[in-house]
């Protein structure tokens, strides 16, 4: 999308995406025929401002010709003078606004589209591609949607923003905050494309974002909240603290540190219900799609009539209204100052690059005075530091619903390097004794180990049913289902399993627990797979390695600490 730069009667410099509208605008004296990117328009306005902070246009002090100044700026960007011509504007008054009123039916339809457009774009930050998709959804023309957007900009309820903007000597993507962009020479000047958020559509310095500054909700409303569960004692305490935090005007962020499998999400539901009733919008965000897929049905069940927007992956979802949104990382980038309350689930479990974009997205999706609650089983060191410095409130949820302590990992020192070449180690007998307690889940640090270990275990225990999987395994979901059914004696895996997968009676072994891929978070999560059901509330976790790493030590300390706190608060039975 591009814009035309206008010189107005009052001496100001304006812009419009529609040449034909300029021709009808009596305020415009002349305009530049070359279509410009919004980044360029903004840069010109800024530079003119800098050259004359007192606004000489209005006062007519300066004899400098604004046209000349603007051309000079554009030449500085690499433009050729021959590409830049001015056109004097002499609006023909015959095409008054009244002529639009003629066709009533068409007018009626326009009103419908306008209403829908405004309902679906509140609090959003949309690219041209998004707007085009919205046009299709509303069965409208791209041009008409652009006009509605421009109208809102003129009314002050939205702004245009260059999608990638020159900042200092470089660039910054205004959608995701990335500064490392792919630069290329465009026809007239240097341009840049952001690669970091390309999965939700291109973001370039020639493109523009439509930023709507209105809140998602217009005010308090009736909200039906029917929880299908009862909070445990531990959850009730945490839930009350979350509620206090959400209502407290002084606190901006808080950290909910929960034991694995303690049910941290439900703890937030009562606060979410309160917020929605108050007319405050709520976002549940998570870096991984499986987390969203796990939370969505539970929210839907407990908020039976509430329109829930679920935005995951990179697929384009239908635009929807309403004050409660569930979204994965990149989808958060489509909102602008939209939410009063953000529940951010397992931010630090974010396994991929791009967490910078997530941080940027969260910060900008939050309304002024809004609140973020981080939910985690494995807090980051930055998070804990912020708590220590008093910048962030800490809320604890140390116990599971069945009032049994978390299984503490045991370390089995291996004298030899662990490799799948015949099961000679003494720990083979330990795997055997684990199997007596329940099926065994064996974590390995690399995909190439899965097959050899399956074969090796199979050789040692010919009667066992053994299989394995990794995250990109095409048969993964069917294997996980069989694992859940208890069909395997031993299952080899590289990654902690998807959220929401509960394995009754499972026992855990981590091979080469000192491998660098296993940080304290991964270790706590893997150990956290054990003892999650009421029927099998206990079990064993075995770390196998030649060395004890700081990560292993931290993992054990965290788990022991949760148990100690739970004991102190009387949340577990000894």
């Amino acid at each position: 999308m591009h814009f035309f730069l206008t010189l107005n009667k009052d001496g100001s410099v304006g812009f419009s995406p529609f040449q034909e509208r300029i021709n009808q605008d009596s305020k415009v004296t002349s305009y530049l025929c070359a279509p410009l990117s919004y980044a360029t328009i903004q840069a010109i306005q800024e530079q003119l401002q800098q050259r004359d902070p007192f606004g000489f246009w209005d006062k007519g002090f300066s004899r400098k010709d604004p046209k000349h100044q603007i051309l000079k700026i554009l030449k500085g960007f690499g433009w050729n003078a021959s590409d830049l011509t001015w056109k004097e504007n002499s609006p023909s008054l015959e095409f008054g606004q009244d002529s639009l009123e003629d066709e009533d039916q068409a007018h009626e339809k326009d009103k419908e589209v306008e209403k829908a457009f405004n309902r679906l774009t509140m609090g959003r930050q949309l690219s041209m591609g998004d707007l085009r998709r919205l046009a299709r959804q509303l069965k409208s023309q791209d041009e008409d949607i652009k006009k509605l957007a421009q109208f809102n900009v003129e009314q002050g309820s939205a702004t245009w923003v260059p999608a990638v903007k020159p900042v200092g000597n470089g660039w910054q993507c205004q959608r995701c905050g990335e500064r490392e962009v792919e630069e290329w020479p465009s026809q007239y000047e240097m341009a840049a494309t952001c690669r970091s958020c390309e999965s939700i559509g291109p973001s370039t310095s020639l493109g523009v974002l439509y930023r709507d500054v209105r809140s998602l909700l217009e005010g308090p409303s009736e909200v039906i909240f029917q929880p299908h569960w009862e909070l445990t004692e531990a959850q009730r305490i945490a839930s009350e603290q979350v509620f206090e935090f959400i209502k407290d005007p002084c606190q901006e962020t808080a950290l909910l540190w929960a034991a694995c499998g303690a049910g941290k999400t439900e703890v937030c539901f009562p606060s979410a219900a309160w917020a929605l009733k108050e007319g405050k919008s709520v976002l549940f965000a998570a870096p991984r799609q499986d987390v969203i897929n796990d939370v969505a049905p539970r929210l839907q069940r407990d908020f039976p009539d509430y329109p829930l927007q679920v935005l995951t992956g990179t697929s384009s979802v239908k635009f929807q209204g309403g004050g409660m949104v569930l979204a994965t990382t990149h989808q958060v980038l489509r909102f602008w100052r939209a939410f009063d309350v953000i529940f951010m689930d397992e931010m630090d479990a974010f396994p991929y690059q791009g967490s910078r974009a997530l941080e940027w997205g969260l910060k900008h999706a939050l309304r002024q005075g809004g609140k973020i609650l981080y939910l985690t089983a494995t807090p980051s060191s930055e998070g804990l530091k912020a708590v220590k410095q008093g910048k962030m409130q800490l809320i604890r949820l140390p116990a599971r619903h069945h009032r049994t302590s978390l299984p503490v990992p045991m370390w089995e020192k291996s004298r030899h390097t662990i490799a799948p070449n015949g099961c000679t180690g003494a720990w083979v007998s330990q795997i055997k004794s684990l199997r007596i307690q329940g099926p065994v889940l064996m974590f390995v640090p690399k995909i190439s180990w899965i097959d050899p270990w399956i074969k090796c275990i199979q050789r040692c225990f010919p009667s066992w049913c053994v299989d394995g999987s990794y995250s990109a395994d095409p048969e993964r979901s069917s294997k996980i289902e069989r694992l859940r059914q208890g069909e395997f004696d031993l299952f080899v895996s590289t990654t902690i399993l998807e959220r929401g997968v509960t394995l009754p009676g499972i026992q855990v072994v981590v091979l080469e627990a000192d491998h660098p891929v296993f940080d304290e978070r991964a270790l706590v999560q893997m150990a956290g797979r054990v003892g999650r059901t009421r029927e099998c509330p206990a079990g064993s976790v075995l770390f196998l390695s030649a060395r004890m790493t700081p990560a292993m030590r931290t993992a054990v300390r965290w788990i022991e600490e949760q148990n100690r706190l739970a004991m102190e608060l009387g949340l577990i039975d000894a």
């Binding site: 999308m1 591009h2 070359a34 279509p35 410009l36 990117s37 690499g78 792919e182 290329w184 020479p185 465009s186 026809q187 007239y188 240097m190 341009a191 494309t193 390309e198 559509g201 291109p202 370039t204 020639l206 493109g207």
Partner: protein, 246 residues
């Protein structure tokens, strides 16, 4: 503008030979264009229709459409680097619709090598022009980026002087008949002096019926161009006609 590209290309050239080589089409490690992509999309073993550039599955020199006189008439020869499908189509769409013109620079060398092996030497290279409003929206003309890549690889001068006078609907969305008539009057020669008596490679990203190349070739011819060769990244493939009966 051209200077910018030169600088950018130089930078890219010095960078990419030090880095790990990956296939420019699919991204796998190894060759500049990996054997799989060569087999799947480039089909160097197949002939190209001399009139429209289409990939041919038999030993003929022209496709059926062109044999029947329904193809371009003002071009001396047309060739396409590969088949407009799969990874090559993804590459071209990524360049155009996700603003990644730099990816075209990465294929400069193999594309130029193909051109040299297929087409006679010429005085210069010319890009199929793009209309100003589309250019403003996209920021670059992919055909121009390709032409400047060839210019950089071979030192061939870039010939300008033709303009696109109106924005026509994208050729892809039209029927064959409309494609051939959509472009009447779309191109105008601004500087006949740069064209008279010259031989050129006329470059575009994709050709399906050859209509765009033909429309430009027509005005070049009437301005006195001596020989015009069409060169594209990708073209369609002639459908195999299954003989009826026995």
């Amino acid at each position: 503008m051209k200077e910018f590209w030169k600088g950018a290309v130089k930078l890219a050239q010095t960078l990419w030979y030090e880095e790990l080589q990956t296939c420019v089409i699919c991204g796998d490690e190894g060759d500049l264009v990996c054997p799989t992509c060569t087999t799947d999309y480039l089909h160097p073993e197949l002939g190209r229709c001399r009139s429209c550039g289409k990939l041919l599955l038999n030993e003929k020199t022209n496709c059926l459409d062109c044999e029947a006189g329904r193809g371009p008439k003002h071009l001396d020869q047309v060739t396409a680097w590969g088949h407009y499908s799969g990874g090559l189509r993804d590459l071209i769409q990524n360049v155009k619709f996700e603003a990644r013109p730099r990816r075209l620079k990465e294929i400069a060398r193999p594309f130029t090598n193909w051109a040299i092996s297929q087409l006679p030497a010429v005085d210069g290279v010319m890009a199929v022009p793009m209309h100003a409003s589309r250019l403003a929206e996209r920021g670059f003309n992919q055909a121009e980026v390709l032409a400047s890549a060839i210019h950089w690889e071979l030192g061939l001068p870039i010939i300008e002087g033709v303009e696109r006078s109106e924005a026509t609907p994208p050729q892809m969305l039209l029927s064959r008949y409309d494609r051939l008539h959509n472009l009447k009057g779309a191109f105008i020669v601004r500087e006949p002096r740069s064209i008279i008596g010259r031989t050129v490679w006329l470059v575009d990203d994709v050709t399906t019926t050859g209509a765009t190349l033909e429309a430009v070739a027509e005005v070049l011819r009437s301005s006195g161009a001596k020989a015009i060769y069409g060169l594209c990244l990708a073209a369609g493939m002639e459908k195999i006609l299954v003989p009826l009966g026995d």
